[in-house]
């Protein structure tokens, strides 16, 4: 169903604005329909960051130590790629082994959630004079720079930002490069009797819908009055900044158009599809990521482990089994569907958290913070899959081959996306800052 607001608005625009001051802005605004957005040829590199809040265990996922005391309960399984083996709880991902590269020799220096999160997401330790942007904001800025689209350049699903707010934000790039936040309520099993539990997590983009209590007719009147005010004001005031403000509002209004909002409406997907991704925030977030990538959004982030879900100091194996199942359903299905649509070659997927976990199992059956030797994963576009890069010792306690610093991972990600890692932005005081300081790892690049 089409929203009458936008019909009205467009007619109104034609009637009032004619070829006046707004002529050029108007021309670029009107035809931006969602289908054209999706087929915009300039906007084809995408990144999906799967953020594992709390610090995921490498030993029970991508760097297993079978036969060693540190190995734990889980078994190893083969993947499509010879020699590359994952945990038994990641069977769907194993099917995509040839598109997945595991970095097993990542080593960092921050073992605290806040500091680790900042380091991994910005490439820089916290507390400096420069407010570094998260790599996600920097990449979204670069990948989105050439695209004229109604959709945001960076959409983030249910991030746990509180732990280190600065690590999730645009820093000196400014608030306009912030992620568009998708929040929502998870599918909560076993709530109060009589309350209908949604089958799937409901996702909603901040401020995209009309505020509660405001109907379509009202929205229409608002825009009509607004347009009239704008026209009058811009007729006899001219400044580039005035036009920028007006154009931005038009772009925002554009995002509210039903066909754009539809990108976020997961009820348009078949039940069977929603089921495959898993009912939780992560699974449904992965489905949303696929829909957004289809529509040209350059950067999507989906978090797994609300709060610090991967922080498994106790009862590691039960918790990680559940998390792995959720991870495998969401990510595995995402790989399949992107691949079926021919989008996987243009989409680079990153899996990481703030640090790894101790190979040694503690007395509570848990694993503790461990930045010395841990894993992260790159997959899809630009990545030479089917390999594990670097190696840890048999007990998993130290890196034995090809140590990798976080800057190298971020630089490799940039290269895989076709963004030069030494691209510079100006921080306060005209100080040029590279988006990633590190060396891309050639062996990981396709």
């Amino acid at each position: 169903m089409l929203n009458p607001l936008w019909h009205f608005d467009r007619r109104e625009m034609f009637r009032h604005l004619g070829m006046g001051l707004m002529g050029s802005t108007c021309a670029s605004w009107l035809p931006a329909l969602a289908d054209q957005v999706a087929s915009d040829p300039r906007r084809k590199r995408h990144c999906i960051l799967l953020w594992m809040s709390g610090g995921p265990t490498q030993t029970d996922t991508f760097d297993m130590k079978p036969g060693h005391n540190n190995g734990g309960e889980f078994k190893e399984i083969a993947t499509r790629a010879p020699g590359l083996r994952f945990s038994e709880h990641l069977p769907k991902l194993a099917e995509h082994g040839e598109r997945i590269a595991v970095i097993r020799s990542l080593t960092t220096k921050e073992g605290d959630h806040e500091r680790g999160t900042h380091l991994v997401r910005t490439g820089q330790p916290p507390m400096g004079a420069v407010a570094y942007p998260s790599i996600a904001c920097s990449l979204a800025k670069e990948l989105g720079a050439t695209a004229e689209s109604a959709l945001p350049n960076y959409v983030s699903v249910a991030p746990t930002q509180q732990i280190s707010p600065a690590a999730f934000g645009p820093g000196f790039l400014g608030a306009s490069y912030s992620p568009a936040l998708v929040g929502g309520a998870g599918a909560a099993p076993g709530v109060l009797p009589g309350v209908v539990t949604p089958k799937y997590a409901a996702l909603k983009l901040d401020d995209l819908e009309l505020p509660a209590g405001v109907g379509e007719a009202q929205a229409m009147r608002r825009m009509k009055l607004w347009n009239a005010m704008e026209r009058r004001f811009l007729d006899d005031h001219s400044a580039a900044s005035f036009n920028a403000h007006n154009a931005l509002y038009r772009k925002a209004a554009d995002m509210m158009r039903p066909e754009v909002r539809a990108a976020f409406d997961l009820s348009q997907e078949e039940d069977a599809v929603r089921e495959k991704y898993g009912p939780g925030m992560f699974g449904q977030g992965c489905l949303l990521a696929r829909r957004l990538v289809e529509r040209g959004v350059p950067f999507v982030e989906v978090s797994l482990g609300a709060g610090l879900g991967w922080d498994t100091h106790a009862d590691n194996f039960n918790l990680v089994k559940k998390l792995s199942e959720e991870l495998d359903a969401g990510w595995g299905t995402l790989m399949t569907e992107l691949s079926e649509r021919g989008l996987l070659d243009d989409t680079t997927i990153v899996w990481m958290g703030e640090f790894g976990r101790t190979p040694v199992i503690n007395s509570m059956g848990g694993r503790d913070h461990f930045p010395n030797a841990w894993s992260c994963v790159l997959a899809g576009g630009g990545i030479k899959g089917g390999q594990a890069y670097g190696r840890t010792s048999d007990d998993g306690m130290k890196v034995e081959e090809k140590p990798v610093a976080i800057g190298d991972v971020l630089a490799t990600l940039c290269e895989a996306l076709g963004v030069p890692p030494d691209t510079e932005n100006m921080a306060m005081g005209e100080r040029p800052i590279k988006i990633a300081e590190g060396t891309p790892i050639a062996e990981l690049l396709a």
Binding site: D112, E114, R115, P126, M127, G128, A129, V130, A131, P152, P159, Q161, P165, A166, G169, P170, G171, F172, G174, A175, S176, Y177, S178, A180, L181, G183, D206, D207, E209, L210, P211, G213, Q218, R221, R222, K224, L225, A228, M229, E230, R232, F233, L234, H237, S238, A239, S241, F242, A244, H245, L248, Y249, K251, A252, A253, M255, M256, M428, G429, E430
Partner: protein
């Protein structure tokens, strides 16, 4: 003995808490610098006979005239006719936003428009400078100015303390030289707030030096950190010579992440800077001046402050007035003082800068008088509208440059129109900032500002993104202000004895600080009349309110 009195005063005010610094003060007094001797004294109202005479013109008026005279010369030379004067409503809104950070109330607009006193603009400027929102706005402006952009939100507590510290000083109209001196000489500890300046620059000599040079000398020295300044003769050595003054200020025992209720700074007797990638120690040297004489009796930073805030330091006073000018006019008189060369012939703007700096020094660094001078110029009262296709060059100040409202100005102006707030309203995707609530800061404001903060850049540029626009269109702040049932304003103007035209007038006055044009009045009155039930009418009022709040006109100080 004068110096004994001074020392006693210093000690009793606990400004300085350790001996070397007190010794430095004694040394300072000995060579009769007035700067620190007057520390923490607010600017005194002059009581000379000449000033007391009713007919006497305040010194700010003569300076304002002189500025206009010089600007007129520059404009004439460029063949530019300045824009006409802004009308009263425009001027009221502009001065209120610049000097108090918030739009005027509807009642203030009505009164101002009705006032027939020809000197009402001068009177308004005095009123705004005396209002309690003036020091608040100055504190906000300075806090944003001296801390790095996007400073760590986990330091909200210290930032709030800094705000308070600054506000107290602006409220007393503390001399500018003393303000800068007490900021740079803070020892933290019980004096909460100012140490955040050092803390957010990591107490790193080169970071503090780069920031202080830009803020208080008007010189961008960052480039000279790594190499000689590309287009001015500031050498790398000069930069590190300045940094050396901060090399012996440390923060003992502060570990990252701990509660820093008593973040302390101490001056120690060792610590040096070396040129990058070399072992060569650079001794402290005043920029474009002498090396610090070997004298260990006073801390290095206190000796820097003596030099920095001296009335003979032309960079210090010029940087101050250039900043104040930019605050009101959207652009400084000169872009930077990097290249200022006193031996060369001055441009018009350099000449204004020079004379204004002298005026500022002669006024004993009286900030209020500086604002009064600038706001009373004809230049500040020009319209932002101009005739012709192309605007005159901004540096001619022949037309007012529009500035987007800062996030704080926007929020505070919204709140003038909002029902009283209670709890934080639960922002999606981020926990409400409870820390802010504990510090008497409105947590909704903290979150609003965080989401609206533009990147660093020119104050005249509009740099928000679609998410910010969506937030203003559909977000909770706007929804609360315009909610038909909650809005105080809508409740008040829905009174039965008002006509729809009067209702529209009230809405315009409250938001755009002006009366509507006849066409606007008709357009909005018709929209309101569309409602056939009281609820529908309230709804239509709410929609009108929304359209005004989201207009480009509202978003700017023009």
């Amino acid at each position: 003995m004068r110096w004994l009195v001074v020392v006693h005063r210093i000690l009793s005010r606990r400004l300085l808490v350790h001996a070397p610094l007190v010794l430095a003060m004694l040394a300072a007094v000995a060579w009769a610098s007035p700067v620190l001797a007057d520390t923490s004294e607010p600017v005194q109202k002059s009581t000379t006979a000449a000033d007391a005479a009713p007919a006497a013109e305040p010194p700010s008026a003569a300076m304002a005239r002189r500025i206009d005279e010089l600007l007129a010369q520059g404009q004439a030379a460029a063949g530019v006719t300045p824009a006409p004067l802004a009308d009263d409503a425009e001027f009221l809104r502009r001065a209120s936003l610049d000097l108090t950070g918030v739009v005027p109330r509807a009642s203030e607009v009505r009164e101002f428009l009705a006032d027939e006193d020809p000197a009402k603009r001068q009177a308004l400027i005095d009123r705004l400078l005396a209002s309690s929102s003036h020091p608040t706005h100055m504190a906000t402006t300075w806090r944003n100015r001296i801390l790095p952009t996007g400073a760590d939100p986990s330091r909200a507590r210290e930032a709030a303390a800094l705000q308070k510290w600054l506000r107290t000083r602006f409220a007393r109209n503390l001399r500018y030289d003393n303000l800068v001196g007490s900021l740079l000489l803070t020892n933290g500890g019980d004096e909460l707030g100012p140490a955040l300046y050092y803390q957010s620059h990591d107490v790193a000599p080169e970071k503090v030096a780069a920031s202080a040079a830009e803020l208080f000398l008007g010189v961008k020295l960052q480039c000279a950190q790594c190499h000689d300044h590309p287009f001015a003769d500031w050498s790398q050595r000069e930069f590190w010579g300045l940094a050396a003054f901060f090399a012996r200020t440390k923060s003992p025992g502060n570990t990252p992440g701990m509660m820093q209720a008593s973040y302390k700074l101490v001056d120690v007797d060792r610590g040096d800077v070396t040129l990058p990638e070399s072992e060569e120690v650079v001794p402290p040297k005043y920029p474009r001046g002498d090396e610090l004489a070997a004298d260990d009796s006073a801390s290095r930073r206190s000796q820097l402050v003596l030099w920095l805030t001296s009335r003979d330091n032309r960079y210090f006073s010029r940087a101050a007035v250039n900043w104040a000018w930019g605050h009101l006019f959207g652009e400084g008189l000169v872009e930077t003082l990097d290249e200022l060369d006193d031996s060369a012939e001055m441009t018009t703007n350099e000449q204004i800068l020079d004379e204004l700096a002298d005026h500022f020094v002669a006024s004993k660094f009286d900030l209020q008088q500086l604002w009064r001078t600038l706001a009373n110029t004809r230049a500040y009262q020009l319209s932002s509208r101009f005739d012709g296709e192309k605007p005159p060059a901004p540096a001619l100040f022949a037309v007012m440059l529009p500035k987007p409202l800062t996030p704080e100005q926007l929020y505070d102006s919204f709140m003038r129109l909002a029902p009283p707030t209670e709890a934080p309203y639960g922002w999606n995707g981020a926990a409400a900032n409870n820390m802010a609530a504990m510090l008497d800061e409105d947590p909704n404001r903290v979150e609003f500002v965080r989401r609206m903060r533009p990147p660093p850049g020119e104050p005249t540029e509009y740099r928000a993104g679609t998410l910010q626009a969506l937030m203003l269109m559909n977000g909770q702040t706007t929804a609360r202000v315009t909610a038909p049932q909650e809005s105080r304003l809508l409740g008040a103007i829905d009174a039965p004895f008002l006509s729809d035209a009067e209702r529209v007038d009230a809405l315009f006055l409250a938001t755009l600080s002006r009366l509507p044009s006849p066409e606007e009045r008709t357009l909005f009155a018709e929209a309101i009349a569309e409602g056939s039930t009281p609820a529908e009418r309230r709804q239509a009022l709410s929609d009108s309110f929304w359209a005004l709040l989201n207009s480009t006109e509202f978003a700017f100080n023009h």
